[in-house]
């Protein structure tokens, strides 16, 4: 007689984790380990134990990220290869002017300029794709965005190297001033967008998100040419800490996520105005856009919480108190409270639609003030990024 156990034995094929891995997954894992060992052999002796821990954490996160979101692996390998090449042919600052590859492609200046150009191009291309319904143009736009994000990250990594060429023994991870974090912001926002583009299988939102990135790029260009902000300045003692490697990037994942949420909200409101429109009708469904808004704000909120806690831990070590009501800290609290209220309304009152979209946009302005306005208009302990 057939018992229920027989049926269970002829089990439904449910794949295990290891057997679900494809060859490229293994390539990525191996690449991560090789990259780790490479970094260890070159920079290991100069790193303290905290930096070792951060490096291990980064490698594990990258492995997970590559498994979770497959396209990032190609991106990661391309960035790693280009950066390694750049470091090999970059023994001193003079090489940046003399070597063709560095001068026109891979020095932090050139790479950043490529990033700027490609982001502007991608913005145009995304809108062109939306207007023309051309899948090819859409693919081109996505390709440009990937390349721009790659150049941005290469620029930052090479700049890290350059800082050591300029200030031997006192270089630093390039997240220490407004110029550097704007590059980081553009890269992170682009990658977050690309993730959602892939997950929701739509390129219609690209132009909207690229608008905020283009604004950052325009600011960056002004900052570069008008204020010579690209010059690598030495690092003040307060910032000479491994905490900076954690606190700042974490914060900018949050800012990037909030920016994506706000730009999707803009698209949402446009579509709400004309849901059946010839062009706006092609935007994703309201439900999908609402979902992206929620997902990005949740992601941003989680990272923002983490970043603020990391900041508090650092402040306790550098300034003698985990919380000083410094304007930057206070504005971080305001941003946090604002999104906390947003999430509460969505969770418990079930709010959706236009009011939440408007709020997400206002949220971006609050965030913008916290990360730019405070430096411009208010003084305090966080006065590193003054214009």
């Amino acid at each position: 007689m057939a018992t229920p156990n027989d049926v269970l034995n002829a089990d439904y094929e449910r794949q295990g984790f290891l057997s679900s891995l494809k060859p490229f997954d293994w390539v990525w894992m191996v690449a991560c380990v090789v990259g780790y060992l490479g970094v260890l052999s070159v920079y290991g002796p100069a790193m303290d134990r905290y930096e070792h821990a951060i490096l291990v954490g980064t490698v594990i996160s990258l492995m997970w990220l590559g498994w979770y979101w497959k396209p990032i692996r190609v991106y990661g390998l391309a960035v790693a290869a280009s950066t390694t090449l750049a470091l090999f042919i970059y023994p001193d600052m003079a090489a940046g002017e003399e070597r063709f590859l560095l001068k026109y492609l891979l020095s932090s200046q050139s790479a950043t300029m490529w990033m700027c150009a490609l982001f502007i191009g991608a913005t145009v291309a995304y809108f062109a794709a939306l207007l023309s319904r051309s899948a090819f143009v859409g693919k081109t736009a996505a390709g440009m965005t990937w390349c721009a994000a790659a150049f941005g990250l290469i620029g930052l990594l090479v700049r890290w190297h350059e800082s050591y060429l300029l200030w031997p023994g006192h270089g630093y991870i390039p997240v220490a001033n407004l110029y550097e974090v704007f590059i980081q912001f553009a890269v992170v926002t682009a990658l977050l967008y690309l993730y959602y583009e892939e997950r929701y299988r739509t390129r219609a939102l690209g132009g909207f998100v690229m608008l905020v990135i283009s604004s950052a790029v325009i600011f960056l260009l002004w900052y570069h040419f008008d204020r010579q902000a690209h010059e690598i300045e030495p690092l003040i003692p307060a910032l000479q800490s491994w905490w900076m490697k954690l606190h700042v990037p974490t914060n900018f994942v949050a800012y990037g996520a909030f920016a994506v949420a706000a730009m999707v909200a803009v698209a949402y409101l446009f579509k709400l105005n004309n849901p059946e429109g010839n062009i706006l009708g092609r935007l994703p469904s309201f439900e999908q856009m609402d979902d992206v808004m929620y997902k990005t704000i949740a992601l941003g909120f989680a990272f923002f919480t983490l970043a603020t806690i990391l900041g508090a831990l650092w402040a306790a070590e550098a300034w003698g108190g985990y919380w000083s009501w410094d304007p930057k800290e206070t504005w971080a609290l305001i941003v946090w409270l604002n999104y906390a209220a947003w999430l509460h309304l969505r969770f418990t009152k079930g709010w959706r639609g236009a009011p939440m979209a408007w709020w997400a946009i206002i949220g971006l302005f609050v965030t913008l003030f916290a990360f730019l306005g405070v430096n411009l208009f208010l003084s305090g302990l966080h006065s590193y990024g003054a214009l």
Binding site: E231, D291, I309, G321
Partner: protein
């Protein structure tokens, strides 16, 4: 949560006042209002700079608004009563939420709701329905599919109907408890470390806030706190080689003194600079003398590397001058030739009275810097150079008014020439206006000061003017013996006016005099030119005499181009002296640099409470966002012939898209397996029949 609030509101009629209050305090509307209120209140504190000297506020806002803002505690918003009341309400509201919802969350985490009836499942949004040949097999498949998809379930049923209540991600609900508990914990931790007790004592008068700038020893005991105070955060500046056993806590418009149970000695302070002049690193060698220690504890602290000693954390926060000893020389800029340079010693942060050129000034030495790095823009980018030590001081008139000065000890190169720079300003907010005194060939002030001294001597000027006038009149072929002394007298007068008001004043005087003398316009031009020439030549002659004397010669030596340029620069400086506003030029001739280290000392017993709360918050946020909470029900209805109807249903409000995908996966699995299961059941049934 929302379903619970509905249930609560339905039964409101029977609620007592306390329950209604509880409901109000725990309501979402209040919570949102409080979140927004804290945010807005926080903004105020970033717009009005906090903790500044009250005088600055008075200047900024005027007496009326100063008073209003002070009443509203806008100068220390985050310690203000009203702000703490809002925060307290936020904590109460969160606590009430926790109190009311934790049981609900607990139920959601632990109950599988397997008592659900078919009718309620049929109204759910997501459904799937199948027929199965064998009810037992179907149940086995359902169980395996549910657990294979990560669901935990509970079975309830009789012979006819079985319901599987299933859920996954129940820790999502734990996330709610964690995050809200975290807020309460963090606020309590913050309260422990806050200065609320001090505020209270200052308000009730048992603690007096010291607002004067006096020495520690002069501060009365009513402003002291014992070393048993469990939590504080303050700062103290200790010069090298000195020690301190107290720290100053800012409170309201002044400070109170916190006694430490140990004494901190600063052996040495070191600062390194980048070539841009920015500090590269700074650190202090500390010795802690604690009666509880067998021998003093020695440790070097630096920025980002504090010393923790028995719950007291000592941080390197700043540095500054620790009372450097300066050798100074005050060159007179006014008065007669009898005024000679005065040599004396001074100490930074000390003041002394000076009598110079018949005027009294109080010299307040404010700061001394050994390095001053200036960027030079050159073609290949930027280059930096150190222009040497500088001193900042104030000269205060007996009336109380003061100008602030910044003097550089060494001459500074500008376009191949060297100048002693001295900046002056009347308010901190202004930029310094620099006086450029040309340095002589020995890079000293002597030639300029000799020239100035000669100009201050009416006799020297008179003689030089007379000789100049005679020569000039001769060259113009005017042979009037009376005229030369008159011209010379006018020239002397012009030199005096030059020293008193600069070239502008001289020009103005000449113009006015010509107008008063009713000289006809055509001749005015000539006369004015003549006056200028006389003045110029007189000044040039005096200068030449000074240079000749400096060279030790008797007969006038010829001036080269460099000397000529010095003369032009010197006259420019002399003409600017009246605006410089000081009767003296202060030269630093030597110094003994003494630095002071700025330490921040804290005792924060609430710190670990806050960190614990932060960890809770992080875990809670992660659980809420990334562990999706999902419930499905499976109903297996057995028919009389042993076959069964299977109904799968579920719903999710918060994450509809994610749930849809998840549900679809489960549905697909059931579709495939139930079909296969039915086949297997049928087949085995057939074989069995064949056997018999």
């Amino acid at each position: 949560m929302s379903s619970e609030s509905k249930r609560v509101s339905k039964s409101r009629k029977s609620k007592s006042t306390g329950a209604i209050l509880l409901e109000f305090l725990g309501s979402m509307n209040l919570a949102i209002t409080l979140l927004v209120a804290v945010a807005i209140a926080s903004i105020i504190g970033t717009v009005v700079q906090q903790g500044q000297p009250y005088n600055d506020y008075l200047l900024k806002f005027g007496p009326f608004w100063f008073e209003v803002f002070e009443r509203l505690s806008l100068y220390d918003v985050y310690s203000a009563g009203w702000f703490l009341v809002i925060l307290t309400f936020l904590v109460i509201s969160t606590s009430v939420c926790l109190y009311r919802h934790t049981p609900v969350m607990w139920k959601e985490m632990t109950r599988f709701r397997e008592q659900t009836r078919e009718a309620s499942l049929r109204v759910l949004r997501h459904k799937g329905e199948w027929s199965a040949a064998d009810a037992k097999v179907a149940e086995a498949i359902v169980q395996s599919a549910l657990s294979g998809n990560g669901y935990r379930f509970r079975r309830k049923g009789d012979d006819k109907t079985v319901v599987y209540g299933a859920m996954k991600g129940r820790w999502n609900r734990g996330g709610y408890i964690f995050t809200h508990l975290a807020i309460v914990v963090i606020c309590v931790g913050g309260l422990i470390d806050g200065n609320l007790p001090l505020q209270w004592r200052a308000m009730t008068g048992s603690l007096e806030v010291e607002t004067r700038a006096v020495r520690v020893s002069q501060i009365p005991p009513q402003s002291w706190l014992p070393d048993t105070n469990p939590s504080f955060r303050g700062s103290v500046t200790i010069p090298e080689g000195k020690r301190a056993g107290v720290v100053f806590l800012p409170l309201r418009e002044g400070v109170v003194v916190q006694q430490l149970p140990f004494v901190i000695e600063v052996e040495q302070f070191r600062v390194e600079h980048y070539e841009t002049g920015q500090p590269k690193s700074f650190e202090s060698d500390l010795v802690i003398h604690d009666p509880e220690l067998d021998e003093p504890l020695r440790q070097t602290i630096a920025v980002n590397h504090p010393l923790i000693h028995q719950g007291f954390a000592i941080y390197q926060s700043s540095f500054g001058d620790g009372g450097s000893e300066l050798q100074l020389r005050a060159w007179p800029l006014r008065g007669g030739p009898d005024e000679k340079p005065q040599e004396f010693e001074g100490e930074v942060f000390q003041s002394q009275s000076l009598e110079i050129a018949g005027e009294t000034r109080t010299l307040e030495l404010e700061d001394f810097e050994v390095f001053n790095v200036r960027p030079d823009v050159v073609e290949s980018g930027r280059r930096f150079r150190n222009v040497g030590p500088s001193v900042i001081y104030r000269l205060r008139l007996p009336t109380g008014e003061a100008l602030q000065y910044e003097n550089f000890m060494l001459p500074i190169q500008q376009d191949d020439r060297w100048y002693f720079l001295s900046g002056v300003r009347s308010a901190i907010a202004e930029e310094f206006q620099y006086l450029h005194i040309p340095a002589d060939p020995n890079y000293r002030l002597d030639r300029f000061m000799n020239f100035l001294e000669a100009l201050r001597d009416p006799q020297t000027v008179e003689q030089a003017a007379l000789r100049t006038s005679e020569e000039l009149l001769q060259s113009l072929a005017v042979a009037d013996p009376e005229l030369a002394p008159a011209v010379a007298h006018t020239a002397t007068d012009m030199v005096r006016r030059l020293l008193e008001g600069g070239f502008g004043a001289v020009e103005q005087h000449v113009t006015e005099r010509l107008q008063a003398d009713a000289v006809e316009p055509a001749r005015r031009e000539v006369m004015q030119e003549f006056s200028r020439t006389v003045l110029q030549r007189t000044l040039a002659r005096i200068y030449q005499d000074v240079v000749t004397e400096e060279a030790g010669e008797v007969s006038p030596i010829s001036l080269d181009e460099w000397d000529q340029q010095f003369y032009v620069d010197a006259l420019a400086a002399i003409s600017a002296l009246p605006e410089y506003g000081a009767p003296m030029f202060l030269e630093v001739t030597g110094f003994n640099h003494i630095q002071a280290t700025g330490l921040q000392i804290t005792r924060a017993p609430g710190q670990n409470v806050v960190y614990f709360g932060s960890a809770l918050l992080m875990i809670g946020v992660f659980l809420m966002f990334y562990v999706p909470y999902r419930r499905v029900w499976t109903l297996v209805k057995r028919n009389d012939d042993g076959s069964a109807q299977v109904l799968l249903a579920g719903t999710a409000k918060r994450d509809p898209l994610g749930f849809e995908k998840d549900f679809a996966r489960l549905k697909l699995e059931l579709t495939q397996r139930l079909a296969k299961g039915s086949e297997t059941a049928n087949n085995t049934a057939g074989t069995r029949n064949g056997d018999t």
